[in-house]
């Protein structure tokens, strides 16, 4: 068991820079997910940790030990690949046993046929068989030991790949989108299983995915990567509630966070569609900003809203999802509909074409600068009484 530290990792392929100085500390026993759109460099970063790629500069430490010059096999990490990468001509048991054979048997003992008669080989083989069996039973694939990978379903292959990674008790597990080849139902089930596995093994997991649901549900911390930069590393709820970058805010969350164009008024308040909102930020007055509100933070009501933050619009579309209802509202002069997530009971009376008002709690408004970075909100007042210029009233 060991933590992993990355220090200022850079990597280019030909002319394209893939990683722009990534630094990250992963604690011992932590489940950290690297999430980002395809091509953001997350898989490259994982391969650099594994030693399958060499970084151009920067250091990788596994358990306080610099591993930059160590080949993959000496780093004592295991990897589960997207394609599972099972050896096609070996049985399940042989697949799982291979990493142990390479570690516990000498080159002579590994020889075909003759190796069986080398001193100590029999005892070592028996130990390997025992461990392989234990791991396979633990993952519920004991009965498949004699099958070849081609005879297994996707879910079974994924378990064999996990078993092969687990059997040698590595310091850390690296997982490269291990669930993306499973169907939707299996994926939800496997998510739980991998989380439980992490709890029971207590090992460090580094998990790469482009699926935010996997990132949010399984991780201790999520690292959001875009274009070779780490934008934010934080627990899932913090990433969701308190994103430090507009790209993080829009990438995480379904449906996507609502964004509105705004600017900072002379008094520091954010103005949206010409109306000042009771949200005061630190920033240059006159600067363009983007205001972002999560769908569940928007309230939709018939008629005029009582809150100070209010937008008037028309319902374009109502999506009933069962547990919740999404209402798409076009608030003129904006063209892109704003999406609100509300209780089905609250949506019962809403029809496409109805004029409605949208309102929100100022404390749930996120403001981002032109560079996409979050702008700190100095004061945001909850439902407010119209105040004198430059003042805000707290309730």
């Amino acid at each position: 068991m060991a933590g992993i530290s990355l220090r200022n990792i850079r990597k280019s392929f030909k002319d394209a820079q893939i990683l722009h100085g990534v630094s990250l500390d992963i604690a011992d026993g932590e489940f950290l997910t690297l999430v980002g759109p395809s091509g953001c460099g997350k898989t490259t970063l994982l391969r650099i940790i594994a030693g399958l790629e060499t970084q151009d500069s920067g250091d990788v430490l596994i358990g306080e030990r610099m591993v930059d010059d160590l080949p993959p096999k000496a780093r004592d990490v295991a990897m589960v690949f997207q394609s599972y990468a099972l050896y096609p001509y070996m049985t399940v048991a042989e697949n799982i046993a291979l990493p142990l054979e390479m570690r516990r048997l000498s080159a002579l003992q590994r020889l075909p046929l003759a190796g069986r008669f080398m001193p100590g080989a029999r005892a070592a083989r028996a130990g390997i068989d025992r461990d392989v069996k234990a791991v396979a039973e633990g993952l519920g694939i004991g009965h498949l030991a004699a099958r070849k990978p081609a005879q297994l379903s996707g879910g079974q292959r994924q378990r064999v790949a996990l078993a092969r990674a687990m059997v040698r008790r590595p310091k850390a597990f690296l997982m490269d989108e291990p669930l993306s080849n499973l169907d939707a139902k299996m994926r939800v089930q496997a998510r739980t299983e991998i989380s439980e596995l992490h709890r029971s093994l207590g090992a460090t997991f580094v998990y790469v995915t482009h699926d935010q649901a996997e990132a949010m549900t399984m991780s201790d911390r999520v690292a959001v990567m875009m274009g070779g930069h780490l934008l934010q590393v934080a627990p899932p709820q913090v990433i969701y509630d308190d994103p430090q970058d507009l790209a993080v805010a829009t990438f995480i969350g379904t449906p996507e966070i609502n964004t509105l164009p705004g600017r900072i008024g002379a008094d520091g308040r954010v103005e949206v569609i010409g109306t000042p909102w009771p949200v005061t930020v630190e920033g240059q007055p006159g600067a363009e900003v983007t205001v972002a509100i999560r769908p569940e933070a928007l309230m939709v009501t018939h008629g005029a809203a009582s809150d100070a933050i209010a937008l008037v619009g028309t319902i374009r579309h109502v999506e009933m999802l069962g547990a919740e209802t999404l209402v798409h509202v076009v608030a003129s002069p904006l063209t892109r509909p704003l999406v609100t997530r509300i209780e089905p009971s609250a949506a019962a009376a809403l029809r496409t074409g109805d004029p409605v008002a949208l309102s929100t709690d100022p404390r749930r408004v996120l403001v981002f600068g032109k560079d996409g970075k979050r702008i700190a909100v100095r004061q945001s007042s909850p439902p407010l009484v119209p105040a004198a210029r430059g003042e805000t009233v707290h309730v």
């Binding site: 391969r47 594994a50 030693g51 399958l52 080949p71 993959p72 096999k73 990490v77 295991a78 990897m79 690949f81 997207q82 394609s83 990468a85 099972l86 050896y87 096609p88 001509y89 070996m90 291979l98 990493p99 390479m102 570690r103 081609a150 092969r164």
Partner: protein
């Protein structure tokens, strides 16, 4: 798929197609059929004006007995196995690591090296025959098994065939092996070779057929009868029997062709997989 193609092409074309293929097959097989037929007949019947496929009077036992006793035919066949077996083993030993390096490792000059390998395919063996002969003479290896085997130990075609097959093996399989603790040579022998078994077998059949039938090179470097490979043996046989006794001669020819046919039939399924590159996964 099949029914549609029949409907689309019509019966006339079907008949024509089968007739053309049948004619081709007949032309290919006829010499072998006559060879086997002659090997079963007494000498009187071979040149009789009326041709029959099966002999009127069976003479198979005598012909085959003559073939194996008048000349050391079994020895020639054994030589054939020794030579082709050693050559194939050496070819695998060199072709698999080379193909792996050319297909899956990243190093400067790889593409140039591959071009040079392809260039090697273009050079006919006769061009290098004289330098090789002189080299073997200087090493004192003429008239030994080594003289027949050494020049064939590196198969450019084998490197090319295995490289093409290795390209289809997913990189993650190799990465998984690296993490599982295998070194690069262990990857070649424990991962790549078993994965590429269809190609190995296809290459094996081609190599076996090529080297079993090789006449030119053994004729140059081998004088002793006890080192003769099967085709040389048939020539010795023809010379010794003054070329008249066709029954035993054809029996000998049948006997040395049989291992090839058996090897091909046994490996047929993999052979086709290997040549058409559709096996992995």
């Amino acid at each position: 798929m099949r029914t549609r193609s029949i409907a689309a092409t019509g019966l006339g074309f079907q008949l024509f197609r089968h007739a053309a293929l049948g004619l081709g097959a007949f032309l290919m097989l006829a010499p072998f059929v006559i060879m086997i037929s002659v090997s079963l007949k007494p000498s009187g019947e071979i040149f009789s004006p009326e041709f029959t496929l099966l002999p009127k009077q069976w003479h198979a036992w005598q012909n085959y007995a003559d073939a194996f006793t008048k000349q050391p035919l079994a020895r020639y066949i054994l030589n054939g196995f020794i030579v082709t077996g050693s050559i194939f083993a050496c070819q695998l030993l060199t072709a698999l690591p080379c193909a792996y390096a050319l297909a899956k490792l990243r190093w400067r000059g790889r593409e140039t090296m591959f071009m040079l390998v392809l260039l090697g395919l273009l050079i006919p063996p006769q061009v290098t025959a004289i330098p090789l002969y002189i080299l073997l003479w200087q090493l004192g290896l003429l008239n030994t098994y080594a003289a027949i085997i050494l020049p064939s130990t590196i198969s450019v075609f084998g490197i090319f065939l295995m490289r093409q097959f290795f390209l289809t093996v997913p990189d993650d399989l190799i990465n998984a092996a690296r993490l599982d603790g295998l070194g690069e040579f262990a990857i070649v022998w424990r991962i790549m070779m078993p994965t590429a078994m269809p190609a190995v077998i296809a290459f094996g059949v081609l190599s076996l057929v090529w080297n079993w039938n090789e006449f030119f090179w053994p004729l140059i470097v081998v004088q002793s009868e006890h080192l003769a490979t099967p085709p040389l043996g048939v020539v010795f046989f023809a010379n010794a029997e003054a070329g008249t006794n066709y029954g035993p001669l054809m029996a000998a020819a049948t006997a040395i062709t049989a291992p090839l046919v058996i090897a091909f039939l046994a490996a047929q399924r993999w052979f086709i997989d290997g040549v058409t590159m559709t096996a992995v996964k």
